[in-house]
């Protein structure tokens, strides 16, 4: 902001605050938020890095062991399983984006009652993951569950999704996809509202329709919605904890653990309070996330350059 060279009509004796008002005010306004954020978010990140270098049970004396925790991670089978499961979550959770787009396209009409349909389709997102987990755990029950009953109708035997080491993770991801798809749907519904009708009409006159129209005309215009859907889905996939804790508690045989869950288990559950080891797992998870965070920030930075 440049101060225009208007003749100063005020009396020359102005307080320090008055003279520096424009420079000082933003920091006064920022102070409480920065203080809270520093104490509870920024500083703890660095503390976790430092704790990960110690062998510590959370109460007694911490013993410095350098990169010992990380060395131990290298040979930890459970860590490897968690890492693979995180990858599965990342890949399959992204299905929420096309699924959300599909439902949004299905619902983007103006028939009577469509508003109610839209909100009811969005409904699962408002539910707590704890409730979603419970509901799906019952859905998957080996004998009594709805899934087994439906499969029985078409002649398949009962399945125990959550009790099967190979399928349990996919079962949980499917449960997670339910609310996440609803979220992506609402993003795309808002996005579709903003699609330029003239471009669509022009493309129609040129003979574009169906898939070609979607791919070349609509999807490029949905880019902002896709970006947000991508961000929230990636973050959601790496944060998955509630569903695993509720549905399988990491089992069977620890096959549904992900890093976030394994970290919690190591640091805070009955398996012992290994804070240092837990912190090391958290650091690995953080570094994975950092790749995505950097990409998001970079995209935002580019957009900012275009703005004011």
């Amino acid at each position: 902001m440049t101060v225009t060279a208007l003749p100063d009509t005020e009396p020359p004796k102005r307080g320090w605050y008055k003279r520096n008002e424009i420079a000082v005010t933003p920091w006064l306004f920022l102070a409480p938020a920065i203080l809270f954020f520093a104490v509870y978010v920024v500083i703890p990140i660095f503390q976790s890095f430092s704790i990960s270098l110690y062998d510590w049970d959370g109460l007694g004396q911490a013993e410095y062991i350098g990169l010992g925790n990380y060395a131990e991670l290298m040979n930890d089978r459970a860590f490897e399983v968690s890492l693979w499961n995180n990858l599965k979550w990342l890949v399959f959770y992204l299905l929420a984006i096309p699924a959300g787009l599909f439902i949004a396209l299905f619902l983007n009409q103006t028939v009577t009652g469509i508003r109610i349909y839209k909100s009811l389709f969005f409904f699962p997102f408002v539910l707590s993951q704890v409730v979603v987990g419970l509901v799906f755990a019952w859905f998957y029950l080996p004998n009594e569950g709805l899934l087994s009953n439906m499969l029985a109708l078409v002649g398949f035997g009962p399945v125990n999704v959550l009790g099967d080491p190979t399928w349990a993770t996919y079962g949980i991801i499917a449960a997670g996809l339910w609310p996440q798809t609803a979220y992506c749907m609402i993003l795309y519904l808002t996005g579709l509202n903003a699609v330029d009708p003239e471009q669509v009409e022009a493309a129609r006159l040129d003979g574009a329709k169906g898939w070609k129209m979607l791919w070349y005309v609509i999807i490029p215009q949905l880019k902002p919605a896709t970006f947000i859907a991508f961000v929230v889905t990636i973050i959601g996939a790496l944060r998955s904890f509630d569903l695993i804790s509720i549905m399988t508690n990491g089992g069977p045989f620890g096959q549904t653990r992900v890093l976030s869950f394994y970290m919690f288990e190591k640091a805070l559950s009955e398996y012992g309070f290994r804070m240092g080891y837990g912190a090391a797992i958290a650091v690995v998870l953080f570094l994975i996330m950092l790749v995505f965070i950097s990409y998001f920030l970079w995209s935002m930075y580019r957009d900012e350059q275009g703005g004011r």
Binding site: I22, A33, Y40, Q47, S48, V131, N149, A279, A282, R308
Partner: protein, 282 residues
């Protein structure tokens, strides 16, 4: 409009679409409908193996009465309210101020401070867990609602500031310049010029943060234990342990626990969606 409005399609296609809508909805909400049916069934249905059939009798009052009068659920619900409401107020207040500072003033480190909030908002909870739990223990706030509220305010400030700052950037800047030319003090510009214009953003964030915090589970189990301070998401697991395999009660409990954010959503839908789309797609 894309896809082509169904009104331009043939009559059979229109009928097909209108019949498919309710079917798709029922399939989509099937797990939820099942829980709703579970919650009114009598216990005998489950012992007799009548899981998915028509309820033997409608025990709405018995089942929900059990949840409300014969369990810790009301305490958990109260805890949730006492955690959620102060968090909403705190986070919205802090971020309105921070958003104002970052949205209006062009000081040098502006973008860096902003990116700190954005990046912090994306961080995995686990990297904060051990230090935050320690800090809360040291402050003597472990297993208190205050401890949980303080953390939630701090963490949600990241997301809220992102939202507020973008919203304020989109306001007409000449308005602020005009006020400055008039010699209005900066804090008065915030209070009398910007804040009234931010009402939609404040409402959107309030509804959204309410839902986020109400549904939080991770921090509830890290920072609290037992019915004195635990919110309902954590409480429901002990409730379920108490009524193991009593599906009708567990369902009724889950529905009660899920209700407040659901009501919030249906009452404030417009604001809710505006918040979720980050105002980026209008």
């Amino acid at each position: 409009m894309f896809p082509r409005p169904i009104q331009q399609a043939s009559a059979p296609a229109q009928t097909a679409y209108k019949t498919m809508l309710p079917i798709a909805l029922i399939l989509w909400l099937l797990p939820l409908i099942a829980v709703a049916v579970f919650s009114v069934k009598p216990a005998s249905d489950f012992t007799q193996g009548n899981y998915w059939g028509v309820p033997g009798s409608f025990n709405i009052i018995e089942n929900y009465g059990q949840v409300f009068f014969n369990s810790d659920m009301p305490r958990y619900m109260l805890n949730s309210v006492l955690i959620t409401v102060p968090t909403v107020i705190g986070a919205v207040a802090l971020s309105a101020m921070a958003g104002f500072a970052l949205g209006i003033y062009n000081f040098r480190s502006n973008l860096w401070v902003f990116f700190m909030f954005v990046a912090g908002n994306f961080v995995p909870f686990q990297i904060l867990m051990v230090p935050v739990r320690d800090l809360t223990l040291d402050l003597g706030l472990y297993n208190t609602k205050t401890g949980l509220v303080l953390f939630h305010i701090a963490f949600q400030t990241g997301f809220c500031t992102l939202f507020m700052r973008n919203f304020i950037r989109a306001l007409p800047f000449p308005l602020i310049e005009a006020a400055r030319v008039e010699g209005v003090a900066e804090w008065r510009i915030f209070w009398f010029v910007v804040l009234p214009l931010m009402k939609p953003a404040l409402a959107a964030l309030a509804v959204l943060i309410f839902t986020f915090i109400w549904n939080d589970y991770f921090w509830a189990i890290v920072l609290t234990q037992g019915p004195d301070a635990q919110p309902v998401t954590a409480g429901i697991t002990s409730f379920n342990a108490q009524y193991r395999a009593a599906y009708h009660l567990m369902s009724a409990g889950s529905i009660v626990a899920a209700l407040p954010p659901v009501l919030m959503f249906f009452l404030m839908q417009k604001h809710f969606i505006a918040g979720l789309t980050l105002g980026a797609v209008k």
